[in-house]
């Protein structure tokens, strides 16, 4: 592959290439949309590296950050990668690192999700960086995200500070033609110099470190390479300018072009929203009476500018919720420049909602749980299985690992009232269990919470595309490693009731759930754990051993629609004209878990030859 070859590259792949081409040798990540493919692309491209790499899917983001941080202490270039809510998990080491610093270049990539397309929040990592006092870069395209990484490492090493690169969904999941570059051989032997005043800094050292941080931030804000870039107008709109950063800058460029306004108004692109250049702030105050500030998602630039003529999120001229799509930017720009109002777009019709895959073992588990405990409380968590909502078997979804603690909280609240308590059935995926479920399980046992925890074990991180989980015994690069089984962890946490069951066998699962309920209600009952174990239908190995079959609807069908409404398998629909259920042979995998759902036994599984 030649060094200058042009490739169609996803933003996340461009970032992965940028990390490799900057000589990053230690990369730790936890998967999360929209950040996942960054690590994935480094794993795929690892042969390009001239020297050894350490790549890992850590069990959570805090750990990923700490692994990358220690590697930086030895002088190596490192990266921690996560999505925006992952930064919340890593917040503790992230905040302290701002004070204590780094040695080898360290870049933390945090992919934001304005919109949000697949997240619990639309929080803005740039604001998190303002709060943490960490420099943050805001690229406007995949190519620019990649181009920022080398200079970001240089900046990190110049000031010995962690630098955040913050792509958003529209950068991460866009593709663009991007040139590949050479991957350097860094040849940096690890060398750690103990410096307790820094790496173990007790409160006595912190004011000094905080002062040094402030001084560095001031210098970083004046670095010539990271100053906002001006595309000057022709002077026809004096005293007026547009300021944008991230993908919104790109939307604005296309919009100005389409409206024939390109080059008519001063346009600034902010590359580093924090710390914002003081000379830029002064210049805007001196030269302009009116400014339109376009940024996602919070008014981070606007707050720092504090310009009296700024129009933006604070006054409500720019929407404060959701993605600043080209349509949203168009409406705002039309108001600001007194242009013709854009065509009103009628309320968009809702499309098909997401659903668990046909044959998904989680659907079978949820259905059985709901049938067994119709009056239960169902805390759940983050993953494909969040879609158990559609089946009415998920009542809460908060943040990674919260379901077990929430389940315990529900129990404790009901316990205070005395008398009976509803059965609380918590569902948590295997990857989430390792991520943040274990401390919560220990706590629930310690507090004698009488709840049932169902670990939905499909042996993969399914929602983000199938990254390995600790009990597989495979590393990020596909090398064998120690498998960490779930059962001993559960037992070691003090759980006395533990059963494993295949959710495709609904009778067996029903029996186990009833036993679990009896356990939590027994005299010295506590947490009961059921592992619902069946491989993900997307797992290639599981696909291979599946015998071809499909479900069929027999003439017994009375068109009651129970299978469609109660089971919500995408392969099942109701033909209302003919008054019967229909199975889409293109989508059905013949798992047969819907057979028991039909009240008149009109579903059969047929082997395909």
């Amino acid at each position: 592959m030649s060094d200058t070859a042009i490739h169609l590259v996803m933003g996340n792949e461009a970032i992965g290439d940028g990390l490799l081409e900057a000589g990053c040798q230690v990369v730790a990540a936890y998967p999360g949309t929209p950040s996942t493919e960054i690590m994935q692309s480094i794993i795929t491209a690892k042969e390009r590296a001239g020297g050894p790499l350490h790549l890992e899917w850590s069990v959570n983001e805090k750990i990923a950050f700490e692994v990358a941080l220690a590697a930086s202490y030895t002088g190596k270039r490192s990266a921690a990668i996560m999505k925006q809510v992952g930064l919340n998990v890593a917040a503790d080491p992230f905040m302290r690192t701002a004070y204590l610093g780094t040695v080898g270049g360290m870049v933390t990539v945090v992919a934001d999700d304005p919109g949000p397309h697949s997240s619990q929040t639309e929080q803005d990592t740039r604001l998190f960086c303002l709060q943490g006092r960490v420099p943050v870069l805001d690229p406007s395209s995949p190519a620019e995200a990649k181009a920022m990484i080398g200079p970001a490492y240089a900046l990190s090493e110049k000031y010995r500070r962690n630098i955040v690169l913050r792509p958003t969904t529209r950068i991460s999941h866009s593709r663009q033609n991007v040139a590949l570059g050479a991957v350097p051989v860094m040849n940096r032997p690890s060398s750690f110099t103990p410096d307790p005043g820094r790496w173990c800094a007790t409160p006595a050292f912190l004011p000094g470190l905080h002062g040094a941080l402030n001084k560095d931030l001031e210098a970083i804000s004046r670095e010539p390479e990271w100053q906002p870039r001006l595309t000057p107008g022709d002077g026809s709109r004096p005293g007026t300018a547009l300021v944008a950063s991230g993908i919104v800058y790109a939307h604005l460029v296309d919009l100005l072009d389409e409206l024939g306004l390109a080059g008519t108004i001063d346009l600034y692109q902010v590359l580093m929203p924090y710390p914002l250049s003081p000379t830029f702030i002064e210049r805007l105050r001196a030269d302009y009476q009116r400014l339109l500030i376009l940024e996602e998602t919070y008014p981070v630039i606007e707050l720092q500018l504090a310009h009296p003529g700024a129009v933006g999120k604070q006054g409500g001229a720019v929407p404060r919720v959701g993605e600043l799509t080209p349509d949203a930017v168009h409406a705002v720009l039309a108001d600001f420049l007194h242009l013709a109002k854009p065509r009103q777009t009628g309320p968009a019709q809702r499309g098909q909602r997401p659903s668990l895959c046909p044959g998904c073992p989680h659907r079978a588990a949820f259905y059985t749980i709901k049938q067994t405990f119709p009056d239960g409380i169902y805390p759940s968590d983050i993953g494909c299985y969040t879609l158990g909502m559609n089946l009415g078997a998920v009542h809460t979804v908060h943040c990674m690992g919260a379901c077990i603690s929430q389940g315990a909280g529900f129990y404790q609240a009901y316990r205070l009232d005395g008398g009976d308590f509803p059965t609380v059935v918590v569902t948590i995926g295997d990857s989430t269990f390792f991520h943040a479920g274990i401390p919560a399980l220990i706590n629930a046992v310690l507090q004698r919470a009488r709840i049932i925890v169902v670990i939905l074990d499909n042996a993969t991180t399914a929602m983000t595309g199938g990254q390995p989980v600790p009990h597989l015994g495979v590393t990020a690069g596909g090398q064998p490693t120690t498998a960490i089984a779930i059962e001993p962890l559960v037992r070691a946490a003090g759980v006395e009731f533990l059963e494993v069951c295949d959710p495709y066998d609904s009778r067996a699962l029903t029996r186990v759930l009833k036993q679990a309920d009896a356990h939590i209600r027994s005299d010295d009952g506590s947490v009961a754990v059921v592992i619902s174990r069946h491989p993900c239908v997307m797992d290639p190995a599981a696909k291979k051993i599946r015998s071809p079959a499909t479900a069929i609807i027999t003439d017994e069908c009375i068109g009651c629609g129970t299978c469609v409404s109660e089971y919500e398998c995408p392969a099942l629909s109701l033909n209302e004209e003919e008054g019967r259920a229909v199975i889409d042979g293109d989508r059905c995998i013949g798992c047969g878990t819907c057979v028991d759902v039909c009240p008149v036994q009109a579903i059969e599984v047929k082997e395909l030859s």
């Binding site: 042009i6 490739h7 169609l8 996803m10 949309t33 929209p34 397309h117 697949s118 406007s140 395209s141 529209r170 999941h173 866009s174 593709r175 663009q176 033609n177 993908i247 800058y249 790109a250 939307h251 460029v253 296309d254 919009l255 389409e258 799509t325 080209p326 349509d327 168009h330 854009p342 065509r343 777009t345 009628g346 968009a348 019709q349 809702r350 499309g351 098909q352 909602r353 997401p354 659903s355 668990l356 895959c357 494909c384 969040t386 879609l387 929602m463 983000t464 995408p570 293109d586 989508r587």
Partner: protein, 166 residues
């Protein structure tokens, strides 16, 4: 040369692959290209949309009423994504029955080839046959060869030609 294209479908139909093939054709023709895709939860059988902007653009997203071409793998999405397309834009739709736009029973053809997912390339073939796209048959076939896994290349090309020859 500037063209704005949307690819609309539901998760699992191969909308992302179709998007990549079209964008790869642009790369091979040495034209700048940007795409935007739907990933994550919305990919679980939910409505998905990709955008492709061919030519000197800065942003991958498409404004209301700006798309020149829409490739719809799921007919029901017409109500959802029609507003993105120009009034005189070209609609290429995977559909059995009659209705607006250029229509082809891509799923039916793909099923006969042994895999319903191939409907994405049947639809592409149909779009190329009607000269709806910036790229021709050769560019698309080369992109399919480049992107399809080796053992599926011939089957993928066959699907494309089925659509191309109507």
């Amino acid at each position: 040369m500037k063209q704005q294209i949307i690819v609309s479908g539901i998760g699992g139909q191969g909308a992302l692959f179709l998007t990549r093939v079209i964008a790869q054709a642009a790369v091979d023709l040495d034209i700048p290209v940007m795409t935007s895709e739907t990933h994550g939860m919305a990919q679980r059988g939910g409505t998905v949309i990709s955008t492709i902007k061919v030519g000197p653009f800065a942003s991958p997203l498409i404004r209301t009423g700006q798309a020149d071409v829409a490739l719809l793998l799921w007919e029901d999405n017409l109500g959802v994504h029609r507003p993105l397309v120009k009034d005189d834009g070209t609609l290429v739709i995977n559909a059995e029955g009659a209705g607006p736009g250029l229509r082809i029973d891509a799923s039916g053809i793909a099923r006969k080839l042994g895999n319903a997912v191939l409907s994405n390339l049947v639809l592409l073939g149909c779009a190329v046959r009607h000269q709806a796209l910036f790229c021709d048959q050769q560019a698309c076939a080369a992109a399919i060869r480049k992107l399809a896994p080796a053992r599926f290349v011939e089957q993928n090309l066959q699907a494309f030609y089925e659509g191309l020859n109507g």
